[in-house]
């Protein structure tokens, strides 16, 4: 079937939006219909993302030519992120069929979930600055509601903290958009890039860029803007945590930061060094804070902060190898962190607790969870030949190649700390002796097992990406070239 990729581009946004409304309209009380519609939508989106590998294009909404109208661009970087978002979304929607059975109002969950996927797809494909802001808000508002979904004490408190900090950062981003519009007179990303290349970057543009870095660092949870993440991600239901930690902070945080820094504003040494230091701070702070946690999901949340630090360090190096490392780690982390959060959710589903000291010996009781969490832990800790090892190796090599021996040493040390806390989770939750209270647990329901196995296979498949060469992993080198090409061509 040969479909022109141009027609697919708006469907990435229109299909989940339409399905979300259909779920609200038709399946309000028929939860099974809602689940089926969600899974079909995400399967369709995943297939569309796989089809768009290797293609690119610009779609003019409404047929209006470029400076007047709103564009949506698809290039290799967008394809990479779309694959990550939609495949992880498919796995999470399969998982949430069984996990959400104990909640009421399940159809609202699926509706909000599809809205969040709409927002993320819209941010990834946006070619216009204000369109990016609107889809960012759509995804963010859906995620605020999803974090508070269970309406228990901690979920409400975490969601309140998240929504206040999220609104603050959105106001900062809108101020940046206002300043950029005032100076360049256009909102189209390619035209902004051209104007900035002509006029140079004087002070108001630097202020706008600084505001963007602050605002998107809030969304990406870089230290010192991370305060909402350790509360929001554990308190949310497990499928929501997996989506938030796995794809949301990257699609609306790290990706937009990279896009604006490299393709629109044009990055200089000062800003690269700022990104490197932010990355280093996040890596170290997240890693050290994760070792002392007693709650399994809170540990994974701090670990997310640390891994985002790795990504931003890789992006902040600016060299092609560094960009490859950062992007590869982004995709890897999407898969293995979602897998780890789904495992934590499965543990909580079976045992009813998240505290590590009450768990133990789940290797026999929950075999699928144990096996997939072993795959996930080894990936994130960087044990060869899993995917995490390759991405961290590339980042360390890129640091050494650029001459930053201090950053490379820190990266290696934080990897060791990552291994330490992952081993702590594995030992305390899975390998130790089974306490009396946990005998005779049910196994995981089949849909949850299918979802976890899907993500584990994805992790293993990603480690084969380096087969085309360490400097040019399969899809990621194309994405990296988009970033190193500098300001947008047309």
């Amino acid at each position: 079937m040969n479909v022109d990729v141009q027609t697919l581009i708006p469907l990435f946004v229109a299909v989940p939006l339409g399905m979300s409304l259909l779920v609200q309209l038709l399946a309000r009380h028929r939860h099974v219909l809602a689940e089926v519609l969600t899974i079909i939508t995400l399967l369709l989106l995943a297939l569309m993302s796989c089809y768009s590998v290797g293609h690119s294009g610009i779609y003019h909404l409404g047929g209006w030519p470029t400076p007047v109208g709103i564009d949506m661009r698809l290039d290799a970087l967008a394809t990479l992120l779309l694959l990550a978002v939609n495949i992880v979304g498919l796995a999470v929607s399969l998982y949430s069929v069984d996990y959400m059975r104990r909640f009421t109002a399940r159809s609202h969950f699926h509706s909000l979930f599809l809205l969040m996927v709409t927002g993320m797809n819209g941010v990834i494909l946006a070619g216009d600055l204000f369109n990016l802001y609107v889809f960012l808000e759509v995804a963010a508002i859906a995620s605020y509601s999803l974090v508070a979904f269970g309406c228990a004490h901690e979920e409400l408190e975490a969601s309140f903290k998240y929504i206040v900090l999220g609104s603050l950062s959105s106001a900062l981003i809108l101020t940046g958009v206002a300043l950029v519009y005032g100076i360049t007179g256009t909102l189209n990303l390619a035209y902004i890039a051209a104007r900035i290349a002509e006029t140079g970057r004087d002070t108001p543009l630097l202020l706008a860029f600084g505001l963007f870095i602050c605002g998107f660092s809030f969304k990406a949870a870089l230290v010192p803007f991370h305060a909402w993440l350790p509360d929001a991600h554990p308190a949310a239901p497990a499928p929501v945590s997996a989506m938030l930690s796995g794809v949301l902070i990257k699609a609306i945080g790290v990706y937009v930061l990279a896009r604006l820094a490299f393709n629109v504003f044009g990055i200089t040494d000062n800003e690269l060094s700022l990104l490197r230091w932010l990355g280093l701070l996040s890596m170290v702070a997240g890693g050290l804070l994760a070792t002392g946690q007693k709650d399994i999901k809170r540990l994974f949340a701090y670990s997310s902060i640390s891994q985002v630090g790795f990504m931003v360090l890789g992006l902040g190096l600016g060299t092609p190898l560094g960009l490859v490392g950062g992007l590869y780690h982004l995709v890897n982390h999407a898969f293995f962190k979602s897998l780890l959060f789904l495992n934590a959710g499965s543990v909580e589903y079976a045992t009813g607790t998240r505290k590590l000291k009450h768990l133990g010996g789940l290797n026999r009781q929950l075999p699928v969870t144990a096996a997939t969490s072993l795959v996930g832990s080894m990936s994130i800790a960087g044990i060869p030949p899993f995917s995490g090892f390759w991405s961290k190796l590339i980042i360390v090599l890129a640091c050494i190649e650029s001459g930053y021996y201090g950053f490379a040493t820190a990266a290696v040390l934080v990897s060791i700390v990552t291994l330490a806390y992952q081993l702590k989770v594995q030992r305390m939750a899975f390998f130790s002796a089974l306490p009396e209270t946990l005998k005779g647990l049910r196994r995981e329901p089949p849909m949850m097992a299918v979802a976890m196995i899907l993500l584990a296979l994805g992790c293993i498949a990603l480690s084969f990406a380096v087969l085309t060469g360490l400097r040019e992993p399969w899809l990621i080198s194309a994405a990296q070239q988009i970033l190193t090409a500098g300001i947008f061509g047309d």
Binding site: G18, L21, L22, L25, Y59, L61, G62, G63, K294, K355
Partner: protein, 173 residues
């Protein structure tokens, strides 16, 4: 209409002056909102502003006569379905741009003749988009107001609530 008149005269809502003035004004306010939506492509206004004014007329009824009077006109279920339907119509308009005219999403496939510019029946798909948006915004705002006003905060003894200090002893961190 008799049921809503009875509800309006019960002991809910505000005093008799407010109720009388509301009874006169809710029609013109609703009409003004519809005018803003329909003429949105020629004069300032459009879906958002017009939708807010339409919602305001319903909110006025809620404030003056209690929420049961407003809900008897449009129940929560109906409003919620109108909400989703409004946005679906907007999406369908966009999709028609590709399906019918073979062009892009949201392309303006209805052209207006030169003589008909600046009149009501001009502007291509924009009036329909405005109507869909007005429907969506009005029903969404009314629904938000009704649902938020359904929370009745009752003063409770604070001893009835679970003590946070107990849970923290378990090493909540």
């Amino acid at each position: 209409m008799n049921a809503s008149r009875k509800l309006r005269e019960e002991g809910t809502g505000m005093g008799i002056t407010v109720k009388t003035v509301t009874r006169w004004l809710k029609g013109p306010i609703l009409l003004f909102g519809i005018y803003l939506v329909l003429y949105g492509h020629i004069t300032p206004g459009g879906g958002f502003g017009g939708g807010v004014v339409i919602a305001c007329s319903f909110i006025l009824i809620t404030l003056a006569s209690g929420e049961r009077a407003a809900l008897s006109l449009f129940s929560k279920n109906v409003t919620s379905r109108l909400d989703s339907a409004g946005l679906l119509i907007f999406l369908a308009l966009g999709w028609l741009g590709t399906a019918w005219a073979g062009a892009y999403f949201y392309s303006n496939f209805i052209t207006t003749p030169e003589a008909a510019q600046f009149t009501l029946l001009s502007g291509g798909i924009m009036p329909m988009a405005n109507i869909a948006l007005g429907l969506k915004v009005a029903s969404a705002l009314f629904l938000v107001f009704t649902l938020l006003s359904a929370f009745k905060i009752v003063e409770r003894e604070l001893e009835d609530l679970p003590d946070p200090a107990d849970q923290q002893q378990e090493g909540e961190s």
